[in-house]
Symmetry: C2
């Protein structure tokens, strides 16, 4: 338990940055009086301020500014003790990059990195019984490819990557930007790599791969969409592509100069050209979310109107 | 430029932990002689050791142990200067949690968090021209639900979540574990929540949602699978579920006590019961990956054998 004289308390209070209605560290003082006759020095514990959630967790979003590691470590220790006594089972600690040394102190108390991005790291600590039930962070990068099919010519737009060791024909594509919808990624990547403008038509296929090279040990979800061309002239990006062409789907389905996925999708597209794309498409709809009022996109086989 | 006397150099060399064939910091000495007559003190620059990649980046996987922030800052500054002169466009810095203070020093040189997990944070710095072309980290968590359909009775296994404000019927499901395949998640989650054992049959639908609540500002990919039951007795997990039942698909498709997604999938399943599940399924196949020899799973509409 950290013990402070009133002089120290006043100087700590003066050091605390305040941010309008949110103070970096609202100190909740627990006053304890020692037993015995006559006035005794008060002992107080400085605790971190955290928001509780309905899952039994507590989140500390703002750390005290200008605080030494040892003082922070004491505060954290006392806070953990308090939260444990309240039955809390998880603690989340938001640590700014500029105060990263405090993460070292947190590690001594059992915290580990949960995730980090930009100028903030989030550390977590499981205090419940048994195996940790903390929710994980994002595990997949999402890549989207666009198969731009010219239905009248039976050709599809393909590229050869510049930066790969094997020169294989593939559909243009790339990683989704944060917050970007699948179809938008496909249309954007096709345009950036080939100069061709296109419209989203359907989702064709998903490929899931774990320990994906270049995914920092995480997994990859690769979605292939069918697009229809709005323009046809190619002006490809020489930084990413070696070549770019409109290739006959029949040739793409046969050639060895491609990847297994691309070859498979070429065959799927040929089947679609033959039987109608309805036979291979997953159509997209926007639906409002229950809690947030935001919209999300859902993909599945087309349901006839009377069945919706 | 950091200048070291030979005595300091020897003591620094003694401090460097070595790990077999990989030293934490293999110092590459650049000897410069000042102009002028007679012997002059040598000036050397201590640089961090990094692995170069074909995209113009350099990765520092091991930091010197027992190093002060200021010494590290000087080394980093000199290393950046060297890498810039070599035309490198990106630097990746692996920082152990126990040495997190060094991340503060890196931040002064422009580094930010790229990602972090467990006891390691990775910081990145874009040194190329224009907007950063650094690849991002994982952006999606993946949740999978399993719709266990009893084809003979026309019923489907549903649960009511314990921890939500709205008590809605939903398919059992949850987040994929790292490295876990979609079908495996569905089967596992169904068993954990309901006690029912099942087999994967197909992928039915994907829902993408950004700024997903509980996803730490990231996105959510929610995949719904069709499973067939191997057992029927319910023994549900009271920690996660309030109720669990075999519900008539017709009733699930009509009720207001469910989510829009679940209602939609119930209608899709009714259509499948009527026309055959081939009309709604995306079947799964395992395909070998090009570069790694690992396998991945690909989902799309079933292709007749002669079209493969």
């Amino acid at each position: 338990m950290a013990v402070f004289s009133s002089a120290v308390l006043r100087s700590v209070l003066n050091l605390m940055p305040t941010q309008g209605s949110r103070s970096s560290c609202s100190l909740r003082w627990l006053r304890r009086f020692s037993a015995g006759p006559g006035p005794e020095p008060r002992s107080v514990r400085a605790l971190l301020s955290g928001e509780s959630d309905r899952y039994g967790g507590v989140t500390v979003r703002h750390l005290p500014g200008q605080i030494s590691e040892s003082t922070f470590s004491s505060m954290l220790r006392d806070s953990l003790s308090q939260w444990r006594s309240e039955g809390r089972i998880a603690v989340w600690l938001y640590v700014p990059l500029a105060q990263c040394r405090l993460a070292e102190a947190a590690a001594v108390h059992g915290f580990t990195f949960h995730h980090a991005l930009g100028d903030t790291a989030v550390l977590s600590l499981w205090m419940g019984s048994g195996e940790s039930r903390l929710p994980g962070y994002a595990t997949h990068q999402v890549g989207v490819a666009g198969a731009v099919v010219n239905e009248s010519s039976g050709k599809v737009l393909v590229v050869q990557d510049k930066n790969k060791t094997v020169n294989a024909w593939k559909f243009p594509g790339g990683l989704s930007n944060p917050g970007e919808n699948i179809g938008a990624t496909a249309v954007r990547e096709v345009f950036e790599e080939t100069g061709v403008r296109s419209d989203f038509r359907s989702l064709l296929s998903i490929r899931q791969q774990h320990n994906h090279p270049g995914a920092f040990g995480m997994s990859d979800m690769y979605l292939i969409c069918r697009l229809s061309p709005l323009t046809h002239d190619i002006s490809f990006c020489t930084q990413e592509c070696l070549r770019c062409e409109w290739l006959d789907l029949v040739d793409l389905a046969k050639t060895k100069d491609t990847t297994p996925v691309t070859s498979r999708i070429a065959k799927l597209l040929l089947y679609g050209l033959e039987k109608g794309f309805d036979s291979i498409d997953l159509s997209m709809e926007e639906v409002p979310a229950v809690y947030t009022g935001l919209f999300y996109q859902i993909y599945h086989r087309k349901l006839p109107v009377e069945h919706k």
